[in-house]
């Protein structure tokens, strides 16, 4: 649409957001044109009324139209012209009010579409895409930034049409009344624009500096707040105060330095406007009283009115770049989301996961996509259906990375991961992830009841099935103890249950998928050992399901069919507990750091 042509290619993602709201988007400027046109008639009618009615001149503005009106004396003339004025303003009111409504419909609809598109796009993000954005920054993009664009869009529909049209129409009217006097605008134009543009040009650097100082100060404050315990325990209050005082003073100076330019803006505009008024009175007045002059007082007054409107509109127009630059940052942030390349798309496939067999075949992986910085190196594994597999290793050694390959949360760089005999890339994501259920390390429940949360696993799960899954995950006990049982509301982010309870509910939710493969990524860290053992027992009763367990605690994996020891992105060793204890130094170290011989003795 028009908007695109005006501001370049950065708007291509916004274009579809107008869909469904094209009519109000077009109607708003049209109505505003009518409103302005009617408004602009009023001074002209006033001139006719003053010159024809008050001074009883034979020639007056709009004579061609007015003389056709059915009036027979001066009184009727005045009432007719006055009536026309009132009519014009009423119609203008109507157009203006309608435009307000259409602009609201258009801009709110635009925002709705935009928000939805951003949300949908973010939902398409793969894990890798998600890693590139902070959660908080995504939220800001979908809320504050959308709000900024919505305001800009509305301003665009209303102001950016209104001011230029007003300027042009008022200028036309002025020229119509008196060409020579109207040249005064031609002088006024650069007088208003030049300083404004100059201020903006100089001001931009200063404002940038100011915002930078403000950011620095705010992040220092934030750091101080986050580290308050450190500040207080080292008794550094007055030291921090001193630092802050300096940066606050500095900010104040920069603020004044940046904004003082704009102290000139308003006076300059007023000066130009009033200067033009005085010049119009001066030259117009002389014209009005000269023998060959034909500028009646009413027309002169109208001219002065138009001059004020032209300059005020011009001032408005000169502010547009500033307003648009404010929204630029928001637009850029939103475009970043739209332009993010989704790196995992779901293939069309009818394949379903049949068994819990998993094979890793020379798998390399890198979060950065750089083959020189591998996070997984040459992984080879074969896991049989129904096996229980433990994964052990320090933080950052690649445990989570390894298991995330199985439900294809990331794509391998080289090699392949096969589930149930097929490469994971051959399944549709839905089929694959229904077959491979994963409980993430950083897990989450959502607002709504426990039952609703459980149905994430299976939308059609019966109450009985939900109960069954919760029993295996040792969650049924405490859920039933809640006064509202499975109807208990979990609150935003599941904040109404404790860490250990949350973990158990997350396991139950994953079980409801009835997956062929269940992956627990450090999912019982907040559950006590006794309960954990019960959960392990419960899970082992599901014979067909392959279970992969990442754990810090050696006790959690001791009984597994295979234990994988990860180090620096490689499989350092695979085996059973007893073998590893003999063979793997890392495993032994971990074991010993947790369970000392002296205790066992």
């Amino acid at each position: 649409m028009e908007k695109k042509m005006k501001k370049g290619p950065g708007l291509k993602h916004l274009k579809p957001c107008v869909r469904g709201y094209v009519t109000p988007s077009v109607m708003t400027p049209v109505l505003i044109v009518f409103e302005v046109a009617l408004e602009i008639l009023i001074p002209l009618l006033m001139a006719a009324l003053v010159d024809g009615g008050l001074y009883r001149l034979d020639e007056f503005q709009l004579q061609g139209v007015i003389s056709r009106l059915p009036y027979s004396n001066n009184l009727q003339f005045v009432l007719w012209v006055g009536g026309l004025m009132v009519l014009a303003s009423l119609l203008s009111l109507l157009c203006g009010a309608l435009a307000a409504r259409t602009s609201a419909v258009a801009s709110m609809g635009f925002a709705k579409n935009l928000r939805e598109r951003i949300f949908d796009k973010i939902l398409q993000f793969s894990f890798r895409n998600t890693d590139r954005f902070q959660t908080s920054s995504l939220v800001i993009r979908a809320t504050t930034d959308v709000n900024n664009l919505q305001n800009t869009y509305q301003m665009f529909l209303r102001m950016m049409f209104r001011a230029p049209i007003m300027m042009v129409l008022a200028a036309i009217m002025a020229f119509r009344i008196n060409v020579r006097l109207s040249y005064i605008f031609v002088i006024a134009l650069p007088l208003v624009l030049t300083p404004m543009l100059l201020f903006m040009f100089i001001g931009r650097k200063r404002f940038k500096m100011m915002f930078k100082k403000m950011d620095t100060m705010n992040s220092a404050v934030q750091e101080n707040l986050i580290g308050m315990r450190v500040v207080k325990s080292f008794v550094r209050g007055s030291y921090e105060n001193g630092k802050f005082r300096d940066s606050a003073d500095d900010l104040m100076r920069t603020q004044i330095y940046a904004q003082k330019l704009f102290s000139f803006a308003n006076p300059i505009q007023l000066g130009v406007m009033w200067g033009a008024t005085i010049l119009l009175w001066l030259f117009g007045g002389r014209m009005s009283v000269s023998p060959d002059g034909n500028l009646p007082i009413g027309e002169l007054t109208a001219l002065i009115g138009y001059s004020t409107q032209v300059i005020a509109s011009l001032q408005m127009v000169s502010m547009f770049p500033l307003m648009l630059s404010r929204m630029r940052a928001s637009l850029d942030r939103i475009n970043e989301v739209f332009e993010e390349q989704i790196d995992i798309e779901s293939p069309e496939s009818d394949l379903a996961v049949e068994t819990g067999e998993i094979e890793f075949d020379h798998v390399d992986f890198s979060y950065s996509g750089n083959p020189d910085v591998l996070n997984l190196k040459d992984i080879n594994l074969h896991i049989l259906p129904g096996q229980t597999v433990g994964v052990i290793g320090g933080t950052g050694e690649g445990k989570s990375t390894l298991v995330q390959m199985i439900p294809r949360l990331y794509d391998v760089l080289a090699g392949s991961v096969r589930v149930s005999g097929h490469d994971v890339r051959e399944y549709s994501l839905k089929a694959l992830r229904d077959g491979v259920s994963m409980v993430l390390q950083k897990n989450m429940l959502f607002s709504g009841s426990i039952r609703e949360n459980m149905r994430w696993g299976d939308p059609d799960a019966t109450d009985e099935e939900i109960r069954e899954a919760c029993k295996i995950a040792c969650a049924d006990g405490f859920v039933s103890a809640f006064p509202d049982g499975y109807n208990t509301d979990l609150g935003q982010g599941g904040c109404n249950v404790s860490g250990g309870q949350k973990q158990r509910l997350c396991i139950a939710r994953a079980l409801l998928k009835k997956p062929k493969i269940l992956i627990l990524d450090d999912s019982t860290s907040a559950v006590d050992t006794a309960t954990e053992a019960k959960i392990r027992d419960g899970l082992s009763s599901l014979h067909d399901m392959t279970k992969i367990v990442i754990a810090q605690r050696i006790t959690s994996v001791m009984d597994a069919d295979q234990i994988i020891v990860m180090e620096h992105g490689r499989i350092s060793d695979v085996g059973r507990h007893a073998e590893l204890l003999l063979r793997s130094e890392i495993y032994r170290e971990v074991y010993e750091s947790q369970v000392r011989e002296e205790v066992n003795a």
Partner: protein, 640 residues
């Protein structure tokens, strides 16, 4: 841990001030350092309103001259124009003065407010920070400060200009024509009521909008937060559908709310046009007839009441005022609302400033001492010896901490510690073991008096901690916490945070003790490496080592290690262990740990459960006891 506040939603649309006048007056008190500026500003406002409006009034005189036609007195006309130019010049100058002065003034007041806020925050008790999210706290410095800045910089002056202009305009118009003033009053009343009606409607709708907006924002927040879970459960379509419901509802209410907000402009603008038309028509009808012409309302009541006649020149001058009046009235009503909103920001800031600071009734201070002839003597030299100074009495600092029957609760309801008694001899290592929420961290919060106990006593070298000045108490305690907080600055700066007057050599020595020197010297710029955003460019373990070095440089007699190594895996911990051991040597140490390997060599291990010490003794003794600790060690029971 005490509960944290809920999610923080933006305050747009927001709350209006509860005590606007009181807050405004209090805000004005900050101007006391710029009274001069304030007086000049007020004079400027009055001069600006008077000059700009009187200039408009001069239109009447100009028109009067021009009405004479060809024989007009152009000398007088020129003189009038010069007068008008002078008036406008005055208005321009005062307008500039006003803008510039208010800028300086507001920037200064903002600066003072920011400092006061920050200083206040440094003095608030830790419970204040525990009970609020970072977003909430930052909002004081961003949203609220911005609102007040806008208020001081623009809104208040604009409001004063509007009011004084309105007064001048009415005064001047009364001198022009009574009927016109009457029409203006009608307009004023109309504008006022229309504005009031629209504002009311709009406020009601904005409330609804805020509600829906919060719902949409909450939904977005939650789904973004749980995005990976959404992916794992291929729940995308459901999430989309859920969002659409909220989003559509928001769009509906927002459209209504926005309509009311948008309609104000055209409404006010066109109402003024209507009254302009009325004024013009009525004015012409009532115009005193030009010589040789008849009065338009001949044979009516007006013909016989000369006072109601309008001079032509007066009419033309009045017409210039019509827009002025309607603009000013609608400005006042709009500014009124925005001033109330901004004052709500000021109110929040003042509420913060008024919060009671951490109480410090302690008088006992910490001083450096030297031994002379077997007696202690206060000194300024760094002797390595400290003493508590109570009155004139010097009590040697040894690092002995005693808890007797301590009870504590964060909220006054839920008991977190009950009947805790413990005795830490100087140089001993005391460990606390227990589940999350058992009260381990609480105990350390009480030693350094982040929180005060409800019942019982805590003494430090025999002195009740309440009697010790907080600053003295805390500087005698070194803390290494689970979440390592480093500050922007160099590695050296961060270590020096432990003792500001430490030399580079002392900092490096501390880093060596903490086993951190090795990795620091391998950083690209060694000790001068800049740390960014809470030390994010270092690994968790490295940050922890710097924090240990920071505690080492402060060289405290008592050390508190609160889960200092819990976020490091067991193997990495082994490498830090040496540094920790060196640091702990010769000090009283309180260790809180999730992991038993960390606490094994403690002199005394306290096992906490539900705020009570259920077992105590050294490792061997506790194993023999075959209680909870034994279960923990043998893995039959686990901490949560």
């Amino acid at each position: 841990m005490p509960p944290r506040g809920g999610s923080f939603n933006s305050k747009m649309g927001g709350k209006r001030a509860e005590k606007p006048l009181k807050t405004l007056l209090r805000l004005f008190r900050y101007f006391k350092n710029c009274t001069g500026i304030l007086i000049v500003s007020i004079i400027s406002i009055l001069a600006y309103s008077a000059a700009s409006n009187y200039a408009v009034l001069m239109t009447k005189k100009l028109v009067e001259v021009l009405e004479a036609g060809i024989g007009a007195d152009m000398a007088k006309y020129a003189a009038l124009l010069i007068g008008m130019a002078i008036l406008y010049a005055i208005a321009v100058v005062t307008n500039f003065l006003l803008n510039r002065l208010m800028l300086s003034c507001s920037a200064r007041v903002m600066c003072a407010l920011r400092k006061e806020m920050f200083e206040k925050m440094q003095s608030l008790p830790i419970s204040f920070f525990d009970g609020r999210t970072h977003g909430e706290l930052m909002s004081y410095y961003t949203n609220d400060t911005e609102a007040v800045n806008e208020l001081l910089h623009h809104s208040i002056t604009q409001m004063l200009i509007s009011i004084s202009s309105l007064v001048f305009v009415f005064g001047l118009m009364a001198s022009l024509s009574i009927p016109v003033v009457f029409i203006m009053i009608c307009m004023g009343v109309t504008v006022f009521y229309v504005m009031r009606g629209v504002t009311r409607k709009s406020r009601r709708n904005f409330k609804k909008q805020q509600f829906e907006l919060a719902a949409v924002n909450g939904y977005i927040e939650e789904m973004m937060e749980g995005q990976k879970v959404v992916k794992v459960f291929t729940h995308e379509d459901k999430a989309k559908a859920g969002f659409k419901v909220h989003n559509d509802e928001l769009c509906k209410v927002a459209t209504d709310a926005n309509t009311y907000a948008s309609i104000v402009g055209p409404l006010m603008n066109n109402i003024s046009h209507i009254f302009y038309a009325i004024t013009c028509t009525v004015g012409v009808l009532l115009a005193a007839p030009v010589p040789g012409e008849e009065f338009l309302l001949e044979n009516t009541w007006f013909a016989s009441h000369q006072a109601f006649l309008v001079e032509g020149s007066a009419l033309i001058a009045s017409l210039q005022f019509v827009r002025q009046v309607s603009n000013r009235i609608s400005q006042i009503s709009q500014q009124f609302n925005s001033i109330l909103l901004a004052l709500a920001g000021a109110e929040r800031i003042f509420a913060l400033i008024d919060m009671p600071a951490e109480v410090d009734e302690g008088t006992v201070t910490l001083v450096r001492v030297e031994h002379q002839n077997g007696k202690l003597r206060e000194t300024d030299r760094r002797t390595g010896y400290w003493a508590w100074k109570r009155g004139d009495e010097l009590i040697p600092m040894r690092g002995e901490v005693v808890f007797t029957d301590v009870d504590f609760s964060y909220d006054g309801k839920k008991q977190v510690l009950s009947d805790v008694s413990l005795y830490a001899h100087p140089g001993q290592k005391i460990a606390f073991v227990g589940s999350t929420g058992a009260g381990k961290t609480t105990i350390t919060n009480l030693i350094n008096r982040f929180y005060d106990i409800a019942d019982g006593t805590i003494t430090y070298d025999g002195i009740p901690v309440r009697e010790i000045k907080k600053s003295a108490l805390r500087s005698s305690l070194g803390m290494v916490l689970q979440d390592t907080h480093l500050f922007s600055g160099t590695v050296m700066d961060n270590i020096r945070y432990g003792r500001l007057d430490a030399t580079d050599e002392e900092c490096i020595k501390a880093a060596k003790i903490a086993n951190a020197d090795f990795f620091i010297s391998h950083l690209p710029e060694g000790y001068q490496t800049q740390l960014v955003a809470d030390g994010a460019n270092l690994s968790q373990g490295q940050r922890q080592l710097i924090a240990i070095a920071r505690a080492a440089v402060s060289d405290p007699p008592v050390l508190i290690l609160d889960e200092a190594t819990s976020s490091i895996d067991t193997r990495t911990e082994k490498h830090i262990e040496k540094g920790m051991d060196a640091l702990m040597h010769g000090r009283t140490v309180f260790v809180i740990a999730h992991r038993l390997s960390t606490v094994r060599n403690s002199d005394c291990i306290m096992v906490l459960e539900n705020g009570r010490i259920i077992e105590r003794g050294d490792h061997d003794a506790l194993l023999k006891e075959r209680g909870k600790y034994y279960e923990l060690c043998t893995g039959t029971s686990e901490l949560s």
